[in-house]
């Protein structure tokens, strides 16, 4: 083992020399900032693209919330911007469904997958394991540019005559396969599928790179169990992505065939608008299996990086080791395995064999055990700490709160009996927005506030940061907590106007409140974006290499590390990353050798 590590160390030194050679060359703007192969720059590219997407996706939600809160009311400004999509200032049904579809697609894939794990895997993996760069910087660069192309194609679909895809972010055929059934299923759906295919290529390039970097390029002494939990989380995320994204790719390609080449993978027995289609023998449900085989691991692809980063932030700012490192690791492993075995819980009411359904109930509720372990371990990490409430820490605490709230409602939905009633109602919206959407966003904010000094050598403005946190957490609960009640009343999701319904029209004032809060929360997110960009250039400067007093390797680099990260040799690691408060010392960096009479953990 030690020999193997030694070899790694040697290659790393070789790398080092190579970079010193290049250090003297003047890098052009293009190779430094655009087609960069530096993992840190690529991470920032993912982050900034993710932020742009988050603004677009968030704005979509504000628009459709306007319709939900004030159905039938005219907002002339909408017509100015969106023309016939908002005729007379009211959002047309086609537009509404395009908005919800794009909101889901953009947030799930482009923001919380690429923007979250793309940013922090790139930025943190080499810095925290002690590597000069990724295993393949070229593949890393390509992964960003495939993502960029996917983004361009998705954006272009917003501007075509028939509009973007509008069959929901899950794109269930036959609706998404038949242009006759919906305007969004014309050119928009093809563009959606092509964009997703490119996106998947990007994710595979990135994921393989993350895995090989973590397995092969750790610095001397950095055994797998000395890695920070962030790295473990990003590792499991990458494994999940590599194993599940290809399944979605097959689904997307088959759907493209059904749409354009006359195949019948997902189509059978269809009469649409009085027109009898020739397709027979396909299965619309097959697509759902392919989709959710990715779709369920996908929620953990989104959530795991947030869990990892929050574990790190909670430990650093409690000035205490993370409680139960091995249990945290084991539960992430269990989550990663179970993530592949629960997909059909999205399909309890599709006519699934009831026995199969019961197996999925068992496996689904099983996931609650590792999730509970993680929550209890986070709570114990806080217990008897000496807590510093940095903005990152507040977002990490908020993450735990949201993860508890949203995780518990998952126990309702994972139980097929209750799911019969709650399936596809607003309860589902409330559940996954809290546990996957907002919680992961909180993880991302925690990560940004914590590592911004490392990224840009400056701090974000604290007052704005605290303001951002408090408005966002209060707003998130105000928006999504009461929404559970709409779901308990059986109100289906994706209903843009409830006035014709006797059973669902009793929540008018609640919907107005939710919409108003949404607008406020969105405005505060814009303020965060402003803070982000302003602070890159004008923020308070970081003066010490280790501003949070953390033990991990990224804080042993210079304040603004160049390509190659460490100026001299890569430091050697002697201990696990959570020696906080040990033997009366504030913290002991990973690089410090174990003392002669140091206590063991």
């Amino acid at each position: 083992m030690s020999e193997a590590l030694h070899v790694h160390h040697d290659t790393a030194v070789g790398h080092d020399v190579h970079h010193d050679d290049h250090g003297h060359h003047h890098q052009s703007f293009i190779s430094k900032y655009i087609f960069s192969m530096d993992h840190k720059t690529i991470g920032k590219q993912f982050l900034i693209t993710g932020i742009v997407w988050a603004i677009i996706g968030g704005l979509f939600s504000v628009l459709f919330r306007l319709q939900l809160g004030f159905p039938g009311q005219s907002f002339p400004i909408l017509e100015t911007f969106f023309g016939h999509w908002a005729k007379g200032g009211t959002i047309q049904p086609e537009f509404y469904y395009a908005l919800v579809t794009m909101h889901g697609t953009v947030l799930v894939f482009f923001v919380l997958t690429a923007g979250l794990s793309g940013t922090f895997s790139n930025f943190l993996i080499p810095l925290q394991i002690g590597a000069r760069d990724m295993a393949s910087p070229l593949m890393n660069m390509l992964s960003y540019w495939f993502f960029f192309m996917a983004s361009i194609i998705m954006i272009s679909s917003l501007f075509i005559q028939t509009g973007p895809a509008s069959g929901g972010w899950t794109m269930y055929p036959p609706l998404s396969a038949l242009g006759q059934a919906s305007d969004g299923s014309k050119l928009g759906a093809d563009l959606w599928l092509i964009s997703m295919a490119l996106f998947i290529v990007s994710q595979l390039l990135a994921g393989l790179n993350y895995i090989s970097t973590i397995l092969n390029m750790r610095t001397k002494g950095m055994s797998m169990t000395r890695m920070p939990l962030t790295i473990w989380a990003l590792f499991f995320t990458a494994v999940l992505g590599v194993l599940s994204f290809p399944v979605l790719l097959s689904g997307a390609v088959l759907l493209l065939f059904d749409r354009n080449l006359g195949t019948s993978f997902f189509l059978s027995d269809i009469v649409v608008n009085g027109q009898i289609l020739p397709n027979e023998g396909g299965s619309a449900i097959l697509f759902q299996h392919l989709f959710w085989f990715l779709g369920h691991p996908e929620v953990y692809i989104i959530l795991l990086p947030a869990m990892g980063m929050c574990s790190e932030v909670l430990s650093v700012n409690s000035r205490k080791p993370i409680f139960g490192y091995m249990a945290m690791l084991g539960s992430m492993f269990a989550i990663a395995i179970l993530a592949f075995l629960v997909w059909a819980h999205h399909m309890f009411v599709t006519g699934l064999n009831p026995f199969l359904g019961s197996v999925f109930v068992l496996l689904t509720l099983l996931i609650a055990v590792p999730s509970a372990i993680k929550v209890f371990n986070w709570l114990t990490t806080l217990w008897r700490g000496n807590i510093r409430f940095t903005p990152a820490m507040l977002f990490a605490i908020g993450f735990v709160s949201l993860f508890i709230s949203g995780g518990l409602t998952g126990i309702f939905l994972g139980n097929s009996t209750i799911d019969i009633h709650l399936h596809d109602t607003m309860f589902v919206i409330a559940h996954f927005h809290i546990v996957m959407g907002v919680a992961s966003m909180f993880g991302m904010f925690a990560g940004i506030y914590h590592w911004f000094p490392k990224m840009f050598g400056r701090y974000l403005n604290n007052t704005l940061a605290y303001f951002h946190f408090w408005v966002t957490i209060i707003g998130a609960y105000l928006i999504f907590w009461p929404m559970h009640y709409e779901g308990l009343a059986g109100m289906p999701r994706r209903y843009l106007d409830k006035s014709i319904w006797v059973s669902f029209n009793q929540f008018g004032s609640l919907d107005q409140m939710i919409t108003i809060v949404t607008v406020i929360v969105f405005a505060v997110q814009l303020m965060f974006v402003f803070n982000f960009f302003y602070s890159i250039f004008k923020g308070r400067k970081v003066t010490s290499t280790n501003p949070w007093g953390a033990t991990t390797l990224e804080w042993t680099t210079p304040i603004l590390p160049g390509h190659g990260n460490w100026t001299g040799e890569i430091p050697e690691v002697h201990r696990w990353p959570y020696d906080y408060g040990k033997d009366g010392r504030e913290f002991i960096p990973q690089t410090e050798p174990i003392g002669a009479n140091e206590s063991k953990h």
Binding site: L175, A181, P321, N462, P492
Partner: protein
């Protein structure tokens, strides 16, 4: 104009907040960053505690305001089981919710940074970890046990004496078919579907089971109180979903793959009007699976009534077969028309052969 003011106010608020934020940063630097940080720490710790207290009050307030707006007692036997399961889950998760949230915010407040406090080095404890692995596992076993018990009850075979009714979804309407006296739904083939030929569901007229099937559309579906009903569900174009909130039932309608669900309505529409104090009460069928631009308005109605009322309603209905072949209708019958019928009859067979 209103929009302009809103935008202006937002922009102004933005500017003011930013200026305050910038100023406070300068003040922090002037006063000593460490001192300011400690003060902010105290404020945020207090805010977390306040958030917990107001949050819990909010949870109760929200419940008090909204619980009257969710559904009353379920109107089907399965619905009662589902509600029971919901309450069991709510009770167990509720306990966990309060314990963990209170612990989270209370610990945050209590263990805020203090001058003389040392963090307790506590990296792991096998006993604790075992406890909170085993307890959730037991709790979840209980939930899985109850859940699967009810699930098999609900999704099991329909009773033999259940009435059968077919529900077909298409953009954006519901159509119904009763099996008639023989209690058998006749065979269908989607290429037979033709509104012009009076065959909206694609019934194969060759199958004699189709001859007495009753087609109902554009009016409520009628069901009999306390009599189990088995729904055979299908779709013509895209996936829909038959959502019956008051019965707590739901099942997708998938083109090319018939699905079924059964339940027993336990309250007539009249009873529900009285119980809910709402003279306009109707049982509604909602579409719960995104199906296109009219998804939100894909509404159907159900009337639950006594056997006698149902029989009287059913007596007014005629099989669709008679509409497709008017000469087969015994009420509009002269014996002279019979030969004509013979020549028309082979036609659908020929179509089928193609």
């Amino acid at each position: 104009m209103q929009t302009f003011f809103i935008v202006a106010i937002l922009a102004l608020g933005f500017l003011v907040t930013f200026q305050i934020a910038k100023a406070s940063e300068y003040v922090a630097v002037l006063r000593g960053e460490e001192k300011t940080r400690k003060q902010t720490n105290k404020i945020n710790a207090f805010m977390l505690l306040a958030f917990l207290v107001f949050g819990l009050i909010g949870v109760f307030y929200c419940n008090a305001t909204l619980k009257g707006k969710i559904l009353g007692e379920a109107a089907s036997d399965h619905g009662k089981n589902i509600d029971m399961m919901l309450y069991i889950t709510l009770a167990l998760t509720g306990v966990v919710f309060f314990i963990t949230q209170i612990a989270l915010f209370w610990f945050s407040f209590k263990y805020q940074e203090k001058e003389n406090r040392k963090a307790f080095y506590f990296p792991h404890n096998n006993k604790l970890e075992l406890i909170w692995t085993v307890i959730p596992a037991i709790t979840l076993t209980i939930l899985v046990g109850f859940g699967i018990f009810y699930w098999f009850k609900i999704t099991g075979e329909a009773p033999k004496d259940a009435m059968v009714v077919e529900v077909t979804g298409s953009q954006f309407k519901w159509e119904f078919r009763y099996p008639g006296k023989d209690n058998i739904l006749g065979k269908k083939y989607f290429k037979q579907i033709s509104d012009a030929n009076n065959n909206p569901l694609g019934q194969i007229w060759d199958d004699p089971a189709n001859h007495d099937d009753i087609y109902v559309a554009g009016e409520p579906l009628h069901l009999i109180v306390n009599k189990p009903v088995k729904m055979v569900i299908g779709a013509k174009d895209v996936i829909h979903d038959v959502g019956l909130v008051h019965f707590r039932m739901k099942m997708d309608a998938v083109p090319g793959m018939p699905t079924t669900m059964w339940f027993t309505p336990t309250k007539t529409s009249k009873q529900m009007k009285e119980e809910t104090n709402n003279p306009n009460f109707v049982y509604e069928i909602s579409c719960d699976q995104m199906c296109g631009k009219g998804h939100w308005s894909m509404r159907g109605e159900i009337v639950v009534e006594t056997q006698a009322e149902y029989d009287a309603w059913m007596a007014t209905k005629k099989p669709k077969y008679w509409a497709a072949f008017p000469d087969k209708d015994p009420s509009a019958k002269q014996p002279a028309a019979a030969p004509v019928a013979d020549t028309t009859k082979p036609e659908p067979v020929a179509m089928l052969a193609k």
